[in-house]
């Protein structure tokens, strides 16, 4: 009798549990299926002439992304476009993000965004204002790449159709990866931007993007900002000097002139550190220490690398070459832009906190007037699988 009672009870409990499960399986409060979302891969931000925020988004049409290389699918129909680009104006970024919904069909999914491109006019205003949304919103990917568009608008770049990849934003991101490997563009992620903007110890730099042709973009150089406002640009060589100084070069090709020809040296490892020397409680010199390991990549000329001495000579010239690049970047930022993008301020704040508190507000002016001491330590490791150039044998 008791046994039967228990059985009855268990059955009732089981049925209840089974009935409750479907409730749980519906997932979150307001779940969104993949087919009900517009997947955003690229975001562009600019200002209109009357100071409003102009938001451009590049949205993927998942059904149209195919691996068919030609412009036609199997049946010979013209392939529909893989992405579409929409713009909208708004007083704030968030308003524009929501405002876009008036022209597109589905809600936007922003976490998948790979690049964020700022327009020149926007950068001339205060960057902090527009960045707050990207910081606050819980859907943002903090690792997304930031770029600054020069001589073009974010919309133009995002609307560009490229042959390399069916999704332009992915293509742009890949070019950044490539250029980073050449040391001529700084990869800036959203989180780095937020960190530097807040600390005030290092001025911002953002990778530059330009139009190379109708179907190609070029990511090279950086935009220099001061207190969140654009003050100028660095060309690829200056950029590389800047990156050498802060130790962000992954690899690079440096050309060194020799007596009979040119040598291209492949930088394989670098390490850069900036510091400030203090005398009597006041900063006296800026120091930059760079360590480099390199390989000989190409000898375009009639010379020959015979002995260790040749390599030493080569190392010396390499040092000079790199010093020159760093000097170029430093002089431009000191004299023209007066913006401490190297992060000497970070060093001062860490090790001379009292002094930093005093000069926090006008550190950039002090930075501009300080002399600099650059030390480069270069080491050439290997010379490749041949010893001499083809015509170099005597």
């Amino acid at each position: 009798m008791i046994l039967r009672n228990i059985k009855k009870r268990t059955i009732i409990v089981l049925v209840a549990i089974v009935l409750i499960f479907p409730l749980m399986l519906t997932g979150c409060w307001n779940n969104r299926d993949l087919t009900e979302m517009n997947i955003v891969v690229g975001i562009g931000l600019d200002r209109t002439e009357d100071g409003k925020v102009l938001l451009t988004v590049q949205i993927v049409e998942p059904a149209s992304v195919q691996s068919v290389p030609s412009g036609k699918d199997n049946k010979g129909n013209a392939q529909s476009k893989a992405v579409f680009v929409v713009s909208h104006e708004g007083e704030t970024v968030f308003e524009a993000v929501r405002g876009i919904l008036s022209t597109i069909d589905k809600k936007m999914f922003l976490s998948s965004s790979r690049v964020l491109i700022f327009g020149e006019r926007l950068l001339q205003g205060d960057l902090e204002e527009v960045l707050d949304f990207f910081h606050r919103d819980h859907e943002m990917d903090y690792g997304m790449d930031i770029l600054a568009a020069k001589d073009t608008t974010p919309r133009e770049i995002l609307a560009m159709e490229t042959d390399m990849d069916s999704i332009p934003a992915v293509y742009i991101r890949e070019t950044i990866e490539n250029t980073v490997a050449r040391g001529t563009v700084k990869k800036t992620t959203l989180v780095e931007l937020i960190k530097d903007l807040e600390s005030g110890t290092r001025q911002l730099t953002i990778g530059k993007i330009t139009k190379a042709s109708e179907k190609e973009v070029r990511t090279e150089g950086v935009a220099v900002l001061k207190d969140g406002k654009l003050v100028g640009w660095l060309d690829p060589y200056e950029t590389r000097g800047y990156l050498f100084a802060i130790g962000k070069v992954q690899s690079a090709i440096v050309n060194v002139p020799t007596d009979n020809g040119k040598i291209s040296i492949e930088i394989i490892r670098t390490n850069g550190k900036v510091g400030v020397v203090f005398e009597n409680g006041e900063p006296s010199t800026l120091t930059i220490k760079v360590e480099i390991e390199a390989n000989v990549g190409e000898y375009a000329g009639k010379g020959k690398l015979k002995s260790q001495d040749d390599l030493h000579v080569l190392e010396e010239t390499l040092k000079e070459e790199i010093k020159k690049e760093i000097m170029m970047a430093l002089e431009k930022t000191q004299k023209e832009y007066s913006s401490d993008i190297f992060g000497f301020g970070i060093y001062v704040r860490k090790y001379h906190a009292k002094y930093w508190k005093k000069v926090k507000k006008n550190w950039n002016d002090i930075f501009s007037k300080l002399p600099v001491d650059i030390q480069v330590d270069a080491k050439i490791m290997r010379t490749g699988i041949i010893k001499s150039t083809m015509s170099g044998d005597e």
């Binding site: 409060w29 307001n30 690792g143 960190k195 807040e198 130790g247 860490k350 090790y351 906190a353 930093w356």
Partner: protein, 364 residues
């Protein structure tokens, strides 16, 4: 009635889970900015002492709960009043942890789900756990708490993108005052909150191990707190850290190519769950002891409901919750966590000394 007992490992895990609790997402030392690690060490040292006081009280009054001790040492009237205040304190604490949990989930994971739904569902599970008894809670924490350090380690992967490990410099940029304030915060949250364990300690099966268990768990929390602090400041930098709503969550977002954000939720579910369960258990048990009801389970339902309602009622917004926890909570906690326990310790010491003397004089 068979007396319920938990082993020393279960108590250890329970303490550990309780201490991790919402500390996992809310960093109490955030006011000290770069000197958070100093605040953690100072506050932690004081926290160990404080937990030593609690265990000393428990050892001097073997197999007596907080309510018994209050009644015995302070008399019936004062004891009853203080016991009622403690019940309120435990309920308030549980509701604050509920709110922390709700705020976190609603800010980062389910922004459009009403908070009451999140908290309510969580409360149902916890009510079930509390009703199963303190042994089950002990076994549960034995099973789940070891996950917390693993998750902390995984989030530590975010360090691979960091090159600069000196982000905690300069030391004492803003003087010693913010450090001491943050240390007080860290002392009252989480260490002082273990006063709720005075309702649990009597269940430990081997009393002689109590001190060891308490000190070990506090030591581990200090160690973990320091490690977490250095991890977060290296990854985020001091300015971003000061601005973030939930610091460890932000750190977990920064691991390149890996999304471990839900792991923070798991940590909070385990730690916060144990904390709330212990608080509800302590409140129900104390209430039933005062009124003279045998089974604490009769009141858990009502108390949990009240906690949930209170958690919604008590603060208007995240900002309110945070500023209140930072400004008012430490001072509000001092009488409950420090003054009354010290008083109890003194009274207990005197009593035991005089009884010792009596024994001696009898022998002599």
């Amino acid at each position: 009635m068979v007396k319920t007992q938990i082993s020393k490992i279960q108590l250890f895990m329970l303490l550990l889970g309780f201490l991790f609790g919402s500390t996992v997402i809310m960093t109490p030392t955030v006011g000290a900015k770069n000197d958070g690690w100093l605040a953690i060490l100072v506050g932690g040292a004081a926290g160990i002492l404080l937990m030593g006081v609690y265990s000393a009280i428990a050892l001097l009054n073997p197999s007596k709960t907080l309510v018994d001790i209050l009644m015995e040492r302070l008399g019936k009237v004062a004891g009853n009043i203080l016991a009622v205040l403690y019940i309120w304190y435990f309920i308030h604490l549980a509701s604050l942890v509920f709110r922390d949990f709700g705020e976190f989930i609603c800010t980062v994971t389910f922004p459009e789900t009403p908070m009451i739904v999140v908290i309510g569902l969580f409360a149902v599970v916890l009510l079930y756990a509390v009703n199963s008894g303190i042994e089950v809670l002990g076994r549960l924490s034995e099973l789940l708490v070891p996950i917390i350090p693993i998750v902390i380690f995984i989030i530590g992967l975010s360090l691979i993108s960091v090159h600069d490990f000196t982000a905690f410099l300069p030391i004492l940029e803003n003087g010693i005052t913010p450090v001491l304030k943050a240390a007080l915060s860290f002392l009252t949250f989480p260490f002082g909150e273990t006063v709720a364990f005075l309702m649990v300690f009597p269940h430990l099966n081997k009393k002689e191990k109590l001190k060891k268990v308490v000190f070990l768990s506090a030591g581990i929390i200090i160690l973990a707190g320091t490690v977490i602090f250095f991890r977060d400041i290296s990854v985020l930098g001091s300015d971003l850290m000061a601005r973030a709503t939930f610091i460890p969550h932000l750190t977990s977002l920064l691991i390149p190519g890996l999304n471990v954000e839900p792991l923070v939720d798991i940590n909070l579910l385990i730690g916060g769950g144990i904390k709330i369960s212990v608080c509800i258990y302590a409140a129900s048990k104390a209430l039933c002891q005062i009124v003279g009801i045998d089974d604490y389970r009769t009141m858990t339902g009502a108390i949990t409901t009240f906690c949930v309602v209170l958690s919604i009622w008590v603060h208007e917004s995240t900002l309110d919750l945070f500023s209140w926890s930072e400004k008012v909570w430490p001072y509000y906690s001092i009488p409950f966590q420090i003054v009354i326990p010290l008083l109890l310790l003194l009274l207990s010491l005197r009593r035991s000394k005089s009884s010792n003397k009596k024994e001696k004089s009898l022998k002599g």
